[in-house]
Amino acid sequence: MKPPPFEYFTPASVEDALALLGEHREQAKVLAGGQSLVPLLNFRLARPRYLVDLNGIPHLDYIREEDGWLAIGAMTRQRAVERSALVRDRCPLLAEAMPQIGHVQIRNRGTIGGSLAHADPAAELPAIVAALGGRLVVRGPDGERVMAPERFFVGYLTTALEPFELLVGVRLPVRRSRTGHAFVEVSRRHGDFALVGVAAALTLDAAGACADAALALTGVGPTPVVAAAATRVLVGQRPSAEAFQEVGRRVSETLEPDSDLHASSEYRKHLAGVLTRRALTRAAERARGGEG
């Protein structure tokens, strides 16, 4: 379990990193927290000739509020997001998901940008960004482009990032009033990738009916699955166990998840329905209780 030889760069700026990526293109890999890439290197499943380490680049590690968005730098450690009071207040869905990502030791090293760019189909963060309709901030040789998650996440471990581009940050809309969130997942053990995870956001109107609902699932397809059609039926309804059960049924029947060692396709479909109902129920309780 030793990696094959590679050449190692520590650029001091995003520009330097982009220049290296522009030069080496597909032969280069970007190293952020290393929680996925280093094992892949050690198993010799990834064999880049060049490794571009972002850890020496300043100004990619931040959490701040900007124009109604929560902005997080790509190199922000997951543990910092987990412990951020700003994140808890402005984006409680993210705060709830963070402790379910790996273990403390992993979150101490793992970065927000690294997880999003790696795009594991069972990871929590892509589903959070998808559920909230966040934005991914990408830098390339010609400047910045801002992408919606449905365009950014292309397939299994695949994003729309070009080999000469870097993900530099993510923006998430800050929580609206009368909105409740929930992230629930089932994994084999605490800290494992989700077999199925569901991120839900539910907004009530002044009369207590559902004004808006958003739902994204992880672990059930090559990219996060946004269940827009299934949640649309909730709009205008008062939250109820029956309505959430029905959304769960609809979500479940649209999915065609893969089977793997830890969960069959059939079980994942079933879980998607159960967890959708549970996530919506909890989100509705929180929307009513004002706790986010």
Binding site: P5, R188, R189, H262, Y267
Partner: protein, 786 residues
């Protein structure tokens, strides 16, 4: 003279912990010998294939490469590893250290490359060209044992490495009398022990002395030396095996592996130290695995829950090779013999098989055989409870051996020497608050179901040569040994054939020795894990160290102490019988001023002037004692597991865990409890999480800890431990082994708890591990049934 025990039975802190916890302990990979080369091993990507061609020339030319070893080279230099067993029903083929004609499992060593460092060695592996001709693959023991199945070993008539049949003569009668008959098939997954420290071996050849030294992460230095001597055709006097700090063993580190032979051959050839460190992928591919069983069993019982008999067929998937020194028979034989457990069963018959498949070889693992046998039996006991409407505790009570029956010969012929299963059950139930748990067990409208699982078990420990000879396991000594020496300056040292893997021998054996001699623990130290310094013995496995090495240590210490007293009596001009030794001083009873210290006695013993030693007493203070204990002493115990099962998701949470155990006199209750905690974790792992999975082509799918799921602290409950102490009459020490009971009990207790939780849904449990997907399917199927 009975010793007053000052340290034994107390919670002495572990002496080894400051070093272990501050990173100063030296494990195998911490050893630094100048000029050491590193080995990487090319492993078969095929589960079963003929080796057509092996071309290593490009690898030899790679940077930093010093040598490359192939199966052809090894065939000239070493004998295949052979696991021998006397008696009928067993057959074996050798395991060459590097494959020559065929490969038989994914991960089998094919080529070894030695280079300046591991990076260079792994790079060079990519230059080796091997042509394989794939053969039909067997991954299922029941298919592999069929007549006409492709043969894994061409020199054997079939793939059944071991078969034995037993009938105690009372089984047919038992079944005729039965009002209740159950027939079930149980399956246990394949497990691996996953020690924190993987295996490793470092060899160095001293050409001037002709001595080959192997540092190995091993549980059995002497058995390893004997196996190596055989494979390398060297006299044992030319071989030295040393075990540095070892980070967990759990059984698999008692075997001789190809890599041990490879580093020795390379060190001899190159005249430089050669090291191989197993990485985690190699550990999960090739370190001995365990457990995988199919068990078809019938049970006879009366309508009021009295169990009359069992008829069992045990089929154990032992992988591609039979392992030295335990052989492929270990798992099925142990499982079959433990099935009657702590119960009065009239009739018992079994057929037990070890069947070769194209998987990693299976060997010793904490609770070997006993975990499976106990799982099957305790599940059946609970099924009787469900069928008769009796409480599971009551069914156990109706079948237990009574304290007055002991010693009791079970239906499989094992002699339970001591212990009271009823007392153990009562203690566990009281500690758990069983009656209240049952009352609170709500099975109402929620989706969470609570279950309570019991397991009563017997644990086969401290085995002497009688057991190994009866089983035909001719390569295991069965005895252990100790040398006790008081140095001229008065320190007491014990040299033992045990080999700690983290279980605290430096503390527990020192407690025993300090008490036997009558000195403060600070004056005592323990040496183990070195074949040149320690006497020959079996090592540390099968819950034997305290019973056997501890027993040898006590016997040797008594001889040394007698000599100390004899010399002191002479010095004090007192009668031996009037002397007392405490805290390192020998004095006349009731006259504390008439005293000499152990140091004074020792100085005299090593440098006597004429007439200062009593007549017929030799100089020096040293004794070596070999101790071959009785065939076994049994520990017993009861586990109570309380679980909540989410019937919608199939997730299991263990909410309460209680253990009652009896290992005789506890040397150190803190260490006993620590061992139980770890062992229970491994039993829970097998029940809920752990499974080595192969696909139909024999490709292992669980080659990292992302897929081979060990329970972590997040999954484990607080484990409450209570004790009874019934010293066995058959050992010199009053100790019994206890390292495996936690594992043996936990798998069955958790399985029973899950089955109990889901009883209202009509779910029964036959297969492990109980993954959420499996439980979902069981619940779903039960709901579909009318």
């Amino acid at each position: 003279m009975a010793m007053a025990r000052r340290y034994v039975s107390t919670r002495v802190r572990r002496r080894e912990d400051p070093q272990l916890l501050t990173g100063r302990a030296r494990y195998l990979d911490d050893l630094r010998l100048s000029g050491t080369l590193s080995v990487a091993i090319l492993r078969s990507p095929h589960a079963h294939a003929r080796l057509v061609e092996v071309d290593v020339r490009p690898a030899l030319a790679a940077p930093g490469v010093e040598a490359v070893l192939t199966g052809e080279d090894v065939a000239r230099l070493a004998r295949p590893i052979r696991a021998e067993m006397s008696g009928p029903g067993y057959k074996t083929s050798g395991w060459p250290a590097l494959a020559r004609d065929k490969v038989r499992f994914v991960g089998e060593p094919v080529v070894a490359v030695v280079a300046r460092d591991r990076y260079g060695a792994e790079d060079a592996l990519e230059e080796v060209r091997v042509t394989y001709d794939p053969l039909p693959v067997l991954t299922n023991a029941e298919l592999s044992m069929r007549p006409g199945a492709p043969r894994i070993h061409d020199d054997l008539t079939d793939n059944i490495l071991f078969h034995t049949r037993f009938d105690n003569g009372a089984v047919e009668r038992a079944f005729v009398a039965a009002e209740l008959r159950l027939s079930h098939t149980f399956r246990h997954g394949r497990c691996t022990s996953a020690p924190m420290e993987n295996r490793g071996a470092l060899a160095s050849f001293d050409a001037a002395e002709g001595i080959l030294t192997l540092w190995a992460s091993s549980q059995s230095p002497h058995l390893l030396r004997s196996g190596l001597a055989e494979a390398l055709d060297l006299p044992e006097s030319r071989l030295r095996v040393i075990c540095p700090a070892v980070g967990g063993g759990f059984g698999p580190k008692m075997h001789l592996y190809p890599e041990d032979i490879i580093v020795c051959l390379l060190a001899q050839r190159l005249g430089r130290p050669v090291k191989w460190i197993e990485d985690r992928r190699e550990n999960l591919l090739t370190s001995a695995q365990a457990r995988e069983h199919v068990n078809h069993i019938e049970m006879a019982a009366t309508g009021d829950g009295v169990i009359l008999g069992f008829k069992a067929t045990l089929i154990c998937d032992v992988g591609a090779y039979s392992l030295y020194p335990v052989t492929a028979a270990l798992e099925p034989v142990t499982a079959a013999s433990i099935i009657p457990g702590p119960y009065r069963i009239q009739g018992y018959s079994y057929d037990a098989y070890a069947v070769a498949t194209n998987k990693c070889p299976a060997g010793a693992y904490r609770g070997v055989g006993m975990a499976l046998g106990t799982f099957v039996r305790e599940r059946l006991v609970d099924m009787v409870a469900r069928r008769t409407g009796l409480d599971p505790a009551e069914v156990r009570r109706r079948n237990f051996i009574a304290a007055t029956d002991v010693p009791f010969t079970t239906a499989s012929g094992l002699v339970i020497d001591s212990g009271n299963p009823t007392e153990s059950l009562d203690q566990a139930l009281e500690a758990a608050g069983y009656d209240a748990l049952r009352k609170d067990q709500r099975r109402s409208s929620t989706t969470t179901y609570r279950g309570i699982g019991l397991c009563s078990y017997t644990e086969f420990t401290g085995m002497g040569s009688g057991t190994f000879r009866r089983r035909g396991m001719s390569q295991i000594a069965g005895h252990d040994a100790a040398t006790v020496r008081v140095e001229p300056t008065g320190e007491v040292r014990g040299f033992v054939s045990a080999a700690s893997q983290g279980q605290g021998h430096a503390t527990t054996l020192a407690q025993v020795l300090a008490d036997e001699i009558g000195v403060p623990m600070a004056a005592v130290s323990i040496v183990e894990g070195d074949t040149e310094r320690c006497p020959y013995g079996s090592g540390s496995f099968a819950s034997r160290s305290m019973v056997v090495s501890g027993g040898a240590l006590i016997l040797a210490a008594r001889r040394v102490r007698d000599k100390v007293i004899a010399i002191a009596a002479h010095m004090l001009e007192a009668a031996r019988g009037d002397l007392v030794m405490e805290e390192g001083a020998i004095f006349v009873r009731g006259m504390a001023a008439r005293r000499v210290t152990l140091g004074q006695v020792a100085r005299l013993a090593y440098r006597p002037a004429s007439g200062t030693l009593p007549p017929s007493v030799d100089p020096a203070l040293e004794a070596t004692q070999y101790y071959d204990p009785p065939p076994a002493t049994f520990s017993i115990g009861t586990h109570v597991a309380v679980v909540d099962v989410d019937a919608e998701t199939g997730q299991v949470a263990i909410v309460r865990y209680v253990v009652s155990e009896d290992c005789g006199t506890m040397v150190n209750p803190m260490i006993v409890e620590g061992q139980i905690h770890g062992a229970v974790a491994q039993g829970i792992g097998a029940a809920l999480y752990e499974d080595v999975v192969y696909d139909d082509a024999g490709q292992p799918l669980t080659t990292s800890f992302m897929d081979y799921l060990l329970p972590t602290t997040m999954e484990l409950p607080a484990i409450e431990v209570v004790h009874t102490e019934t010293p066995p009459p058959v050992t010199v020490s009053g100790f019994k082994g206890m390292a495996e009971g936690g594992t043996i009990g936990a798998t069955a207790a958790v399985a029973n708890a899950v089955a109990d939780a889901l009883a209202p849904l009509g779910v029964e449990v036959h297969e492990l591990p109980l993954s959420p997907d499996r439980l979902y399917r069981l619940i779903h199927q039960a709901r579909k049934r009318p």
